[in-house]
Every structure is written in structure tokens, then in C-alpha cells.
């Protein structure tokens, strides 16, 4: 099954004297974002001369280049070539993290409000979060902050009118149509559902980032006692498994 045939032709957009944007479409959609991450891997594999780094986002990739080594014109042509061949890519493996979360109570102060607004029980909200097949659409805002797509539509609701000044590290949150895990203590207007003992950003760890753009996530509910036990383990990392992109996409679409 090809997931990219329905997209418009890729577009190159100038982004100053040392960057280009390759845009595959617009909006926030799972198959579009999957194509972005496939193209990002393809760009890395092609090892084009002069590329400094890439920033894959919802629907496009910012490609930073060294103008001493390459120029926008030849690089742009090479990038369009890679984007045009996207549909020929075989299934590519992805990482799926199984992230334990202690939902509700002191760990997730907004769970009951989220449930009430969506007309569901708190247990039902937790069940939905734990069956959703989340995708790391992109990282941005702050180091390690992953925007997760795949929040079931019944749970979509506006952000808090009054953002909290501090939410603890490891907060599992939802806002608008998205979910997230906060990497560090930070202000946030998202709704707090629970907390994970897994740290998605830790400078003392190598590599410091748990999640990469394109990774997948499945939440699993744990008790407060289990949360305390896992948080007490030094260097605790959640389990992860390798999944193959097209199969996972089908699952995601059904979720």
C-alpha cells in the first residue's frame, strides 16, 4: 500500500541564504507526517554534501545547508528528486515506545475535567489514551518537547484558559487535537492527564533525547506505587519495539 500517492507535488520554499524548506502538503495528518519522516530518513541516507541539519515538522522539512559547500539550486533539485521517489520506498521500521503512565489524581489533575467535557468516564478517557497509536509528529518549543498526533477525536478540546506556570517533567498532557509528554518542568496550558516516570530529555543520558521525530508511542496505565518504583530506578528507560511503517499506519488509521 502506498500512502503518499494522493499528495500534491512537493514544493521547495526558500528560507534564507542557508536553508530550504521542502513542503509535502499542509495541515496535520498522519499519512502526510509519515511521508515527511520517510523523506527525512531518505535525506539522511543520501548524505548530500553540505547539509548541516534537517528539522522535520508536521508537513515539511527545513534543510539547513552550508553555503560554502553547496547552493540552494543544486541542493533543491536533489531534494525534489528524493521527494519524488518517496512512493517507491519499501516499508521502513519505526520505534514504538511503550510509555507507562500513572493517570489521574495528583499525577493528572485535569483527567476528570477532560472526561466531563467529553461526556466520558475517567476510565474511558484512560482507555482511549492507552489504545491510541500516537506518532511523534515533531519536536519543538523546548528541548525534547514532542508533539504527538493520534489523539482520538472525542477527546479534542481547547487548551486551558489559564495556563499553569509550572507542570512537572514527565507530564502526559493533551491540548487541542494533540497530546504531549513534557520533557522538563515548564509552563503549559495543556490538560494534565497523568505522569510517566520515563524522562524524554535528560542531559546526563547519552543520547539525551528519548523520542525522535517519527517515533510511535503507546501509553500503558500503571498504579501510583508502580510509578514510584519506576521513578526510583536510576536511568529508567521504557520498553520499545520495532514496528513497520505501513502496518502501523493502518493500525493508526483504525484507532
Amino acid at each position: 500500500m502506498s500512502v503518499t500517492t494522493s499528495f500534491p507535488a512537493p514544493v521547495l520554499r526558500p528560507a534564507g541564504d542557508s536553508a530550504l524548506i521542502v513542503e509535502l502538503g499542509d495541515g496535520i495528518a498522519q499519512d502526510l507526517n509519515a511521508a515527511v519522516h520517510r523523506l527525512d530518513r531518505r535525506i539522511a541516507d543520501a548524505a548530500l554534501p553540505g547539509i548541516v541539519e534537517t528539522v522535520p515538522t508536521y508537513r515539511s522539512i527545513l534543510v539547513q545547508f552550508d553555503p560554502a559547500v553547496t547552493a540552494a539550486e543544486p541542493l533543491g533539485q536533489a531534494l525534489l528528486g528524493l521527494a519524488a521517489e518517496l512512493t517507491q520506498t519499501a516499508a521502513e521500521p519505526q520505534l514504538r515506545w511503550i510509555v507507562p503512565v500513572c493517570f489521574g489524581g495528583a499525577h493528572g489533575e485535569d483527567l476528570d475535567d477532560v472526561a466531563r467535557r467529553s461526556g466520558l468516564s475517567a476510565e474511558e478517557v484512560v482507555r482511549l489514551h492507552c489504545t491510541a497509536d500516537y506518532r511523534v509528529y515533531m519536536l519543538g518549543f523546548s528541548p525534547g518537547f514532542a508533539y504527538l498526533g493520534g489523539l482520538p477525536e472525542v477527546l479534542h478540546q481547547p487548551r486551558r484558559e489559564n495556563p499553569r506556570m509550572v507542570t512537572p517533567a514527565g507530564s502526559v498532557m493533551q491540548g487541542g487535537a494533540q497530546a504531549a509528554i513534557s520533557p522538563i518542568a515548564m509552563p503549559s496550558g495543556w490538560h494534565l492527564l497523568g505522569r510517566t516516570p520515563a524522562r524524554t530529555f535528560d542531559l546526563k543520558r547519552e543520547p539525551p533525547f528519548l523520542l525522535a521525530p517519527g517515533d510511535r508511542i503507546r501509553f500503558t496505565a500503571i498504579s501510583a506505587a508502580e510509578f514510584d518504583r519506576l521513578e526510583g530506578l536510576s536511568g529508567y528507560l521504557p520498553d520499545c519495539e520495532t514496528v513497520t511503517a505501513p502496518a502501523a499506519l493502518l493500525q493508526g488509521a483504525a484507532a
Binding site: 528560507a15 542557508s18 536553508a19 528539522v55 527545513l62 547552493a71 528541548p143 525522535a212
Partner: protein, 340 residues
């Protein structure tokens, strides 16, 4: 004992900067790095460092530091008054300071930011490959913050090399006017023709809302054609984003990695540094260039930075390269026409 510089009185906002944290924007990590890479490179060249070595960037006024150990070779690239133990010394030259001597860097007479570098650089642990300070995410420098009284900056060299001092005639550096060259895009299609015309034909003024992250400009409103929300995408250096107010913000070294406002244009690299040196109230105008011209501007800038060591003179006044030799360099003609 390791040689240190102890901060006696820091400037209002002084941070250690290098070329920035490259390769981690995909994880949401800001690049940071020197807001004016050319002056940063000048400070480093004066003490014999490579261009990207960590140096202190100060804002509006410099720092007072005292040497513990040494001797230390230090140079300030800034239009500011300097004293060593209370005696005036010149800027734009390397100085050798011995144990207990103190350097005081006064207020900038022009520009927003100055730099000082020490021979060999600072002995600080890189965070994600860089010692650049990014205060918002508390990364780099000394505990991720600005210099504060009592900080002790460890130096990589215990003793300065035994050699003569070097200076630079700052008039050899390119002049910077209020003309910022931009490449339109990536989202110029989010603006009306009248909006783009205002952006390119009218004067803008640097507002007081300006820091290392971005610089908000006052001036004519830039009209959006279809709202001011885009699906968040990557933000390159110098991007001119236009939020709902219609007033542009130019994003600088500490910019966030992604954002959801449309970007009408991007300022070319060397002119981003020029903007970072402009004070609130200064006027500027944007001029469009195409990709080929932007490439030539970048190339001339690189030649300038690479050619800095050749512009240095011995501090005794003896020119390492006489003026005839200087004029023979391609870079001089190129730079002058490039910056006029």
C-alpha cells in the same frame, strides 16, 4: 591550579557564546551562538583562536574580571572604554594580564553587543557539542545562565603563549547601514501585494522588544492575505515572522526551532548580525535579493572572516601586511561593495 577569570561585575547581559549548538534543532534545541559572528571572530582572531572558539558576548556594557593565575591573553572587540587596574587601555588589541590584574569593560559607544575572548578559550564542558549559552533552556555557558558576580571562568590555557600582541584597525571592518537584505519566502504567499510592498518600501524601526531570540520592529502593518496561522514549521536564522498584529519580528540566534506564524522573508546571514547590533529607535529598510546574490553575500562574508588574521597588525604599530598588500586581497574590494 587552573587559571581562572573571576567575574567581579558582569554587564547587564553577558553570556558565553560560540558558533552555536548545531544538529539538535530536530529535538527542539535552539542553536544559540554569537549574535554577531563577525565581531565574535575578531575577538578570537586577536588572541589567536580559531573563529568559533567560545567567547563572551556582552550587551550594551561589558564586564569587570580579575585574573586568578595566568598570565592571560585577552582581547575586546567593541567600541568601548577599557581599563586595566584603572589605567585606560585600547580596545581591538590583545592584552596580557597577570595574576591579580583586573580588566573593566565600560559601556558600548555604539552597537548593542561586544565580545571578549581569551587565548585558548574557556575550559567548559560542552552541552550537545557546544558551550553556547541558551538562557531559556538553561544550556551551555556556566550553568546555562548569564555571567554573575563571583563566577569563576576556567581557562583552557594556564599561561598565555609568549608572543607579541596583535591589534586590528576597526575601520577595516565592513560598515553596517540600515539596509537589511532579505530573500522573500518561505511564506510570502500569506501576504497581500500591499503587505509585501509595505515590507519592502517602507522604513521600520527597532523596538524595545529585542533580545537574543528576536527583534520586534515598529512600522507599517504588513497585511496578511489569508490569516496568520500556518501549520508550524522550522524557523531559519533571520526569518521575518509576521504575527496577527502585522508587525514583523526578526528571529535571531536564540530563536525557537519551530513556529506557527507565516514568514514573509529571511534576512541574509551577515545582515542578521547587523540587525543584532542595532539599538531601539534605529531605522532600517528591507531590500530583496535573489538566491544567487545571497550566495555571493555569504561568500564575501566568509572571505572576510577567513581573512581576519591577515588584517591584524602587531600592537606596536608594525603592519604584518602593509596596505599595498591589503589592497591586493580580493576580499577588500568584495567586502566594501558587499556592505556599502
Amino acid at each position: 591550579m587552573t587559571t581562572h577569570l573571576r567575574v567581579v561585575a558582569p554587564g547587564p547581559s553577558s553570556t558565553i557564546q560560540d558558533r552555536g549548538r548545531v544538529g539538535y534543532q530536530r529535538y527542539g534545541v535552539s542553536v544559540a551562538g554569537a549574535a554577531d559572528p563577525l565581531l565574535h571572530a575578531v575577538a578570537n582572531a586577536l588572541v589567536g583562536n580559531r573563529p568559533g572558539e567560545g567567547a563572551v558576548e556582552f550587551t550594551l556594557a561589558g564586564d569587570s574580571v580579575v585574573v586568578e593565575g595566568g598570565p592571560v591573553r585577552i582581547a575586546v572587540a567593541a567600541d568601548a572604554e577599557l581599563t586595566v587596574d584603572g589605567e585606560p587601555v585600547p580596545s581591538w588589541t590583545s592584552l596580557r594580564l597577570t595574576d591579580g590584574q583586573s580588566l573593566r569593560i565600560g559601556a558600548l559607544r555604539s552597537g548593542m553587543r561586544g565580545y571578549w575572548a581569551v587565548e585558548g578559550g574557556f575550559a567548559l564542558q560542552p552541552v550537545l557539542g557546544s558551550i553556547a549559552t541558551h538562557i531559556r533552556s538553561r544550556m551551555g555557558g556556566l550553568d546555562g545562565g548569564a555571567l554573575k558576580p563571583g563566577d569563576r571562568l576556567p581557562l583552557a590555557l594556564d599561561q598565555a603563549a609568549d608572543r607579541g600582541e596583535r591589534c586590528l584597525d576597526p575601520s577595516l571592518l565592513p560598515g553596517r547601514g540600515g539596509r537589511l537584505r532579505v530573500m522573500l519566502g518561505p511564506q510570502q504567499d500569506y501576504f497581500t501585494p500591499a503587505g509585501i510592498e509595505a515590507f519592502l518600501e517602507e522604513d521600520y524601526t527597532v523596538s524595545h522588544e529585542a533580545d537574543r531570540m528576536g527583534c520586534r520592529l515598529d512600522g507599517p502593518v504588513i497585511e496578511h492575505a489569508r490569516g496568520f496561522n500556518i501549520t508550524s514549521d522550522g524557523i531559519p536564522l533571520g526569518a521575518v515572522q509576521v504575527p496577527g498584529t502585522g508587525r514583523p519580528i526578526v528571529l535571531l540566534a536564540d530563536r525557537q526551532t519551530t513556529g506557527g506564524y507565516p514568514k514573509i522573508a529571511c534576512v541574509v546571514g551577515p545582515d542578521v548580525a547587523a540587525l543584532a547590533q542595532m539599538r531601539p529607535g534605529e531605522r532600517l529598510r528591507f531590500t530583496p535579493v535573489d538566491a544567487a546574490e545571497a550566495g555571493r553575500i555569504q561568500a564575501r562574508h566568509r572571505e572576510m572572516v577567513d581573512g581576519l588574521p591577515a588584517l591584524l597588525q602587531s600592537a606596536g604599530g608594525f603592519a604584518l601586511y602593509d596596505s599595498g598588500r591589503l589592497l591586493g586581497f580580493n576580499l577588500i574590494g568584495g567586502v566594501v561593495t558587499g556592505w556599502d
